[in-house]
Structures are given as C-alpha cells and as structure tokens.
C-alpha cells in the first residue's frame, strides 16, 4: 500500500515538472499576435453526372439524332460556367467522331447546371460501345472533361435492291451469254453491317408445257461476260466475290449482280417464258 501511494506521488511530481514549460509556452502564444493569410483560388468545374445509359438503334439509310445529358458542378456558382464551351464528342477507334460543340444549357440549381447535347449518328456508324467525352470551361477558361461514360450503338442490317425484275428481250435460240436488259442488279447496303454473303435461289421459267431450266442461267458479281455461277431450280447458289461493305465514310458502296442466259438451240418455241416463282437474293 505504501508503495502504491509513493508511486502516485512520484507520478504527480513528474507530471508537474513536464507540464510547467508547456504551460509557459502556451501562455506566451496566447499573448502574442499572428496573422492569417487566406488565398481564395478559382475552383475547377466538374462533370458531376453523364447520362451513360444511352442505347440507340441506327435508322436505315438515315441519321439517328441521339440526345445525351450531363451535369456540371462549379463551387463558384453556375454563373461561372461558360455555356458556349459545353461540348460532347462520341468516339470509337477507327471511326469518324460524332460531336456537338454547342450543347444547350437546360438550366440549373445551386452550383449544378444541366446540359443537353444532340449528336447525329449515321446509319453506317459502327455498332458497339462508343466513348462519351464531355467537356466544359468556366469563365476563367479552366477546363475539365470526362471520358468515363459510354453509349451503345445498335446493329442494323439493311439493304435495297434496285431491280424488282430481270428481263431478256429478243433472246434467240442458241444464243449464248445473253445479258439481261437490267444488268447489273444493285445491292445497296443501308446498314452498319457488311454484307458478306449472297445466295441466289432461281426457279425454272415456263411457257405452257415448255420449261426453260434455271440451269441455263448464270450470275456473277463482277461482270464476267457470261461466266458466272450456274443457278439451280429452287436451290440456293452462293455468288462469290459479292462482298458489300457498309458505307465507310459516307461513300455509297454498292454490290452488283449480273445475270446471263444460254438459250438452248432447240426444244423451245417462240413466246414469253416467265419464272414460276420469285427469285430470291439471300443476303447475310
């Protein structure tokens, strides 16, 4: 017990010895004078939100206007944001950028302002995940941007066939490599997918009881003057070299198909022969 009391007494003596100079220092500090300098600097605006759940589908042979919103926060107040500097750029590796360099202010509250950007996407723009780059400046030209959000552009398979029928006028018996009056038949790609394969299903031509077999017809994709792939009745035949890419850079890229007939030298009488069913151009 005696030891405990002694320990406590020693502890308090040590405490007083240590705290005396500290108290003196604090006392001197409270009596002295000092100055405080506070520099208020401009705060950068920040892109506080971007509408990144945008998923849009292309429109066949047309422009899809896409609307994307974003919010800008500036602790100096929304009046410090330079409206005319609000920009939005959509990018995808290897593709032309799509952008709006004058997004419209949609008003704001407190220190946050909303902007709406309309961006025109082309029907041939690549499908996939595009990066959204939004940027804005304040009145001090302090710049901020954000590239962390994305927009998904959909897939479009589309085309137009410029001929609804193919005809052969004045084809004589025995005539070889007779070209169709409507050659070539044009496949115009109006989507953002490449057309990589074309199959043609032909049907026999008939006149009463007479038949002009589909095998007398040939088709090619590069005008081989008659040389081509022999067609078959009611059977798809692949036409090689018929690749039709999407319209890269807005340049219209078309595929051409040429149809020829080798008229048999006998067995048919004069008259009009018609297909028993629609011929089918199968593209994928």
């Amino acid at each position: 017990m005696k030891n405990t009391v002694l320990t406590i007494i020693v502890f308090f003596i040590l405490l007083m010895v240590i705290s005396a100079p500290v108290l003196e220092y604090v006392k001197a500090a409270t009596q002295g004078s000092f100055s405080v300098r506070l520099d208020l600097s401009n705060s950068l605006p920040t892109i506080s939100w971007v509408n990144n759940s945008v998923s849009v589908s292309p429109l066949e042979n047309s422009i899809r206007t896409t609307f994307i919103q974003f919010n800008v926060t500036d602790s100096n107040g929304i009046s410090d944001i330079n409206d005319s500097s609000a920009k939005l750029v959509l990018s995808y590796s290897g593709e032309p950028t799509r952008y709006n360099l004058s997004c419209v202010s949609g008003g704001g509250t407190g220190d946050t302002k909303k902007y709406v950007c309309a961006v025109d996407m082309q029907y041939y723009d690549r499908d996939g995940v595009w990066t959204i780059n939004v940027s804005v400046k304040d009145l001090s030209s302090s710049y901020t941007d954000n590239l962390t959000y994305t927009m998904t552009y959909g897939t479009l398979t589309a085309m137009v066939l410029n001929k609804a029928s193919m005809n052969f006028s004045n084809a004589a018996l025995g005539e070889q490599n007779k070209a169709s009056d409507q050659n070539p038949m044009i496949i115009n790609n109006r989507g953002n997918q490449n057309i990589s394969m074309v199959n043609v299903t032909a049907f026999n031509l008939i006149k009463g009881s007479e038949t002009l077999d589909a095998t007398y017809f040939t088709m090619n994709a590069s005008d081989g003057n008659g040389a081509g792939y022999q067609l078959q009745n009611n059977t798809p035949v692949r036409i090689n070299n018929s690749f039709v890419p999407r319209d890269l850079g807005g340049v219209d890229v078309n595929g051409s198909l040429y149809l020829y007939v080798d008229v048999p030298s006998s067995g048919l009488t004069q008259g009009a022969f018609n297909s028993s069913s629609n011929w089918l151009i199968d593209v994928s």
Binding site: S53, T157, S165, A172, N274
Partner: protein, 303 residues
C-alpha cells in the same frame, strides 16, 4: 439461219423494296444467359422508303420464340419502329459453356409479275452462351477444400496459434499482478458495458417506436454475395441489393426497363420475391408500369 426469238415480257415493277432490321448491340455477337434465365431481345423492323411494304419475319432457334407473332408485318413508308420481341429462355438443366444459335430473317412480300421477279431476304444471327458456375464446382463439398493445404501450411498455422495463446496468457498474468491497473480496467470495462447496453436498448426502443417493427425484421440492408442471385441487367451490369436497384432506376433507360417490366412479366418483382423473400413488396410492385412508379414505391418502403 432462221432465228426463233424468246420474248420475255418487259414489264418492270414500278418500285423496289428497302428494308432493315435493327437490334441491340451484342459484344462478340453473343448474348450470355444463365440456366433457367429468360431474356427479351428486341428487333426493330424498318422501312426507309416511301412506299408501304408487307413483310414476313422468320425465326430459327430452339430456345427463342416470337412474342405475339404475326403472319405478316405492315411496314409503313419511312417507319422505323415496328418492334418484334424474341423471348429467349435457357433450359434449367443446361450446362455452362453450351452455345445456341438464334437466326432470323425478313423478307418483303413481292408479287409475281409474270417475268423473273426478284425478291430478297435479309438474314441475321447471334449466339447465346450459357454461363454460370459449372455444376461440378457447385456440388463440390466445402470440406474438401482444406485438403489441398500442404503439411507445412498446417505447421505454420499451429505455431502461430500457440504463439498468440502464449502472448495472451502473458498479458493476462501481467495485468493480474498489477491490482491497481486491473481494478481500474475492470471498473472502466463495466461502466462501458453498462453504457453500451443502455444506449443499445434506447436505440432499439426508438426503432420500434418509429417503424413499429422489430429491428431484425428489416431486409433493407441485405447485400447479396452469391452471384447466382444477382439481378443481371444488359451490358453486364448487375444488382446485389434492392438499394442498388433504386440507384440503377435513376439511370436506367426505357428500353432496359421494358426488357424487364412489360405486359408479360415483372423481373424485379420476381427477384425481390424469390431472392429476398419479400412477398409483400413484390406484390406492391407487381403491376407497376413505369420507372417512376417503381421508384416511388421503393422509396416509400424506405429504400
């Protein structure tokens, strides 16, 4: 030489057809679904020309079917919004890694005008991959996992445990020797416990008063850890709690919302009922028709 001519009627059709099919972008042209999962895939038929076209839509797949199919679809001139929904369902018994093909096509209905009438057909396809943990892994007993530890790992663990016990015993002995310190610590400890107990009881009483529910009844704080129970949104996003659903609704676009909530189903209600076992809340949101309505209900429920 006498020539016999074959005359084909020169009767050109006055127009040509222009058609398109738009669909959601799929990474690597593959949709990933789990066994038993269903997904609505949207296809939009488009007619970029001025004239109206009647067209046929064909589907070839063992796991997909057209919702509300029609024999023909009238595509008005310059229309881009004729929607077709494919309901894709993966059989429950399927194993991960299996790949299905879904192919579809669109063909205008063309008259046979008496010569070589031409028509065309647009074709498109994509894959559906079955994902998830392999069944062998799921059924693997947890007890087998430690067997992969080497003997040296076990020895290190034992030594560490013994060292910790020795350290604790040493500290206890030192504390026991100093009765003054021990008494002070004991008093402080008792005081803290009493204080903590009193505060805890106060908080619980307040909670009961405010919510009229016992605190442990709340399911609001549940965050799923089992990935099989997550709610998977398109583009790989997933939800682990009802709170995350509320946040996701803020940014969710209408297409995505319609994927999950439409006249045929309400995936969110099914998820809340099946995974969180909150039948009452599921019933409340079962008939919602808009994001706003769903958000309102969830917020009223305190999410």
């Amino acid at each position: 030489m006498k020539k016999i001519y074959l005359f084909f009627l020169i009767l050109l059709l006055p127009y040509v057809y222009s058609l398109g099919m738009a669909s959601t972008y799929l990474q690597e042209n593959t949709l990933k679904l789990e066994p038993g999962e269903s997904y609505i895939y949207f296809i939009t038929l488009q007619n970029g020309d001025d004239i109206d076209v009647n067209a046929e839509f064909f589907l070839n797949s063992e796991i997909a079917e057209i919702v509300n199919p029609k024999e023909t679809y009238l595509l008005k001139g310059k229309s881009y919004d004729t929607e077709i929904m494919l309901n894709i369902t993966i059989p429950k018994e399927d194993s991960p890694g299996k790949i299905y093909s879904v192919s579809y096509s669109l063909k205008p209905i063309a008259d046979n005008r008496g010569q070589i009438s031409m028509n065309f057909k647009l074709n498109k396809d994509f894959n559906v991959e079955v994902i998830g943990e392999a069944k062998e892994n799921i059924e693997k007993p947890v007890a087998e996992i430690p067997s992969s530890e080497s003997p040296s790992d076990i020895n290190i663990s034992l030594i560490m445990a013994i060292l910790i016990i020795i350290s604790l015993m040493t500290v206890a002995l030192l504390l026991k020797r100093s009765s003054l310190v021990a008494n002070v610590v004991e008093k402080l400890y008792n005081k803290d416990i009493m204080k903590t107990d009193i505060e805890q009881k106060k908080i619980e009483q307040k909670l009961i008063k405010i919510t009229n529910k016992e605190p442990n009844e709340s399911k609001k704080s549940i965050v799923l850890t089992d990935s099989k129970k997550y709610f998977y949104l398109p583009h790989g996003h997933h939800l682990k709690s009802i709170n995350e659903l509320v946040h996701a609704l803020e940014k969710m676009n209408e297409d995505t919302f319609k994927h999950h909530v439409n006249m045929h189903k309400n995936d969110f209600a099914n998820w809340i009922s099946g995974v969180f076992d909150d039948k009452e809340l599921a019933q409340k949101i079962h008939n919602v028709k808009s994001k706003e309505e769903l958000k309102e209900i969830l917020k009223n429920e305190g999410y």
